[in-house]
Amino acid sequence: MTKIILKDIDDLNTLEVYEANGGFSALKKVLKEMKADEVIEEVKKSGLRGRGGACFPTGLKWSFMPKVTDKPKFLCCNGDESEPGSFKDREIFERNPYQFLEGTLIACYAMGIKTAYIYIRGEYYRWINIIEECINQLYKKGYIGKNVAGSSFSTDIYIHKGAGAYICGEESALMSSIEGQRGYPRVKPPFPAQFGLWGYPTTINNIETITNIPEIINRGSKWFASVGEPKHPGTLLFGISGHINKPGVYELETGTPLMTIINEYCGGVWRGKSLKAVIPGGSSVPPLTRDEALKAKMDSESLKEFNSAIGTAGIIVMDQDTDLLEVLTRITYFYFHESCGQCTPCREGCGWMLRILRRISEGKGRMSDLDLLISVADNIEGNTICALGDAAAWPVKWTIRKFRGEFESKIQKEEIELPNINKVHSIRHTDYYT
C-alpha cells in the first residue's frame, strides 16, 4: 500500500529524521525551480481533492486567488476536526507535523501568501503544543519567517486556538473565529478567495489536503494521479471507530473496498458479531446498510451510488445489536447543540427533529412521525447559510429511509395525544449567564 503521509519511518516527527528522509526538498525545489503558477498547475494536474469533507479540487481552489493585488492574502489551515468520528488531522500533527508545515509553506508560495493561520480546535491542547514547538524549530532553522530557506520569499505561520465550537470548522465560520467573533458562517458569494479574512483574499484547506502537497511536488502530479481511484486520487486517512476490533487511523488508497478495511485491516466487527450499519465519512453522512457496505468502495465517486459521501473518511462501525434510534438521536443532539443559531431552519429544525426522536425513544412515537422527520429534514437541507443544516438533515433522512422497519418497530400501535409545545432554541443562544 502506498503511503504518502503516515510513512513507516521511526521518529519522522522530529526535524532531523524528517530532513534526513528528504524533508523540505519539495520546498527547496519550488523556491528554486518553479514559478508560483507552475506549482498551482502541478497540484491541479495531480487531481488532489480537499480532505475536509467537500472534495473540492485543491489546485482549482488555489487558482481562484487573485494573482496581482495590493491587498494582503491569507491561508487558513483547517485543523478544527470536530466532526464526530473524525480524528485524522490529530494523527498528522503527531506523526508527520513537518510534512504538513512544509505543505503550508509551499501553498503560501504558490498563492503569494505572507501569512498563514493554523486553526486548531481548542481541545487539541497537546497537539497545539506539538505544532507550536515545530513552528518554533522552523523559525530557528530559517524555514519560516523572513527569506524562507534563503530565498526572497517570506511568510509567517501562526496558530489560532479554537474554543469549542464544531461550526468553526466551516470555512467562513473559521474566519469569523479568527477575527475574534462568534463563529458565525457567512453568506457565499462572495467567496473567500475574493473576500475572506478581514475582507482580503483567503484560501482555506484541510490539514490532510495540505500535507499531501510536498509529495506531489517530490514525486510528481502524474504519480499522485495514478494512486487509488482516478477521480479521487491519492490516499485517505481512514479513522475507524465503533464496534470494531482494531480501531485507529489507517492510510489506504482511495477506492479501497470498505469490507477490506473492516476485515483485513481492522480485524472485523468486534465480539464476533455481524454488521448492521456503517457510517462511512463522519456522523453527517448517510449510513450504509450491511448490503451496501459489502459492495461499497471508499472514495467520493463510489459512495454516491449509495446516496452517501466520503466526508472526512471517519468510518463508524455498528454491530447487529446497535439501536439505530439511539444512534440517530445522539447524532441529532450533536447538530442541535452545535447549530450556531443564525438560520431558522437549522436552529429550530434540529430542535424539532431531536424532540420527535426523543419522544419515539420514550415510547410515544406515532407512525406519521417518521415522515414528519423526513419532512423537517427536507426543509432544513439547502435552506441555510452553511452546510451544517445539511449535515443535520442527511443522517435523519437517510437513516430512516434505509432502516425504516427498525424505526417502525419502535412505534406503538395506538395513537398517543401529545401536548403542543413549540419552543425550541439553539443552545448557543440560550447559554447566557444566569
Binding site: F87, E123, Y124, G248, S283, I316, T322, V327, R330, C340
Partner: protein, 158 residues
C-alpha cells in the same frame, strides 16, 4: 489582571492579526488559564484592554463551550458521549463518574475537587471511551477501574 510580561505578550499577539479585536480569543484563553473561568469582571477587563464593547465580549464567551462561565472544580472532567464513544460505553462511564463523585452536570463536589461535564466528540473516537481534564490532557481507552485509579491519582496531586 495581567502582569507587565503578559501585557507585552498580548501586544505581540495583536501583531499577528489585521485587527486588534482578533486577539480576543487568545486573551480570553489567557484569562481562563489564570483564573480558571471567565467572570463578568474578566470580560469587562478584556473589553477595555482591546477597546471593544463588553456586550461583544459576552457574545463571544457565551458562544464557545470551552470558555467556562462558572467556576469549576480543581479537576474538571469532560467525558465524551458522542456516537463513537457511546457505542463503546461513553454514557456508562459518564453515569458511573457522576455516581461515584455524587455530582451532576454543572455541579462541583463539596470539597471543590471535581466537576463534570458531558462533551461532544473530542477526536478520540478510536480510543473510546475517553475523558479530557481541565481542557487539557486526554485519558483514553477508559474502564471503570482506570477511572477510579485516575480519581485517586488526582486526589493525591493536591
Amino acid at each position: 489582571m495581567f502582569s507587565e510580561a503578559e501585557l507585552i505578550e498580548i501586544e505581540k499577539i495583536k501583531k499577528r492579526y489585521e485587527s486588534p479585536q482578533s486577539s480576543l480569543l487568545p486573551v480570553l484563553w489567557m484569562i481562563q488559564e489564570k483564573e480558571g473561568w471567565i467572570s463578568k469582571d474578566s470580560m469587562s477587563y478584556a473589553a477595555e484592554l482591546l477597546n471593544i464593547p463588553y456586550e461583544y465580549v459576552l457574545g463571544v464567551v457565551s458562544f464557545y463551550t470551552m470558555f467556562f462561565k462558572k467556576p469549576k472544580g480543581k479537576f474538571h472532567l469532560q467525558i465524551c458521549t458522542n456516537v463513537s464513544c457511546m457505542l463503546r460505553g461513553g454514557y456508562e462511564l459518564y453515569k458511573y463518574a457522576c455516581k461515584k463523585l455524587g455530582i451532576n452536570k454543572e455541579e462541583i463536589t463539596s470539597d471543590g475537587m471535581f466537576s463534570i461535564e458531558e462533551v461532544e466528540c473530542l477526536g478520540s473516537c478510536a480510543t473510546a471511551p475517553m475523558m479530557q481534564v481541565n481542557n487539557k490532557e486526554y485519558f483514553e481507552n477508559l474502564t471503570f477501574e482506570k477511572f477510579d485509579e485516575l480519581i485517586e491519582k488526582f486526589k493525591k496531586e493536591i
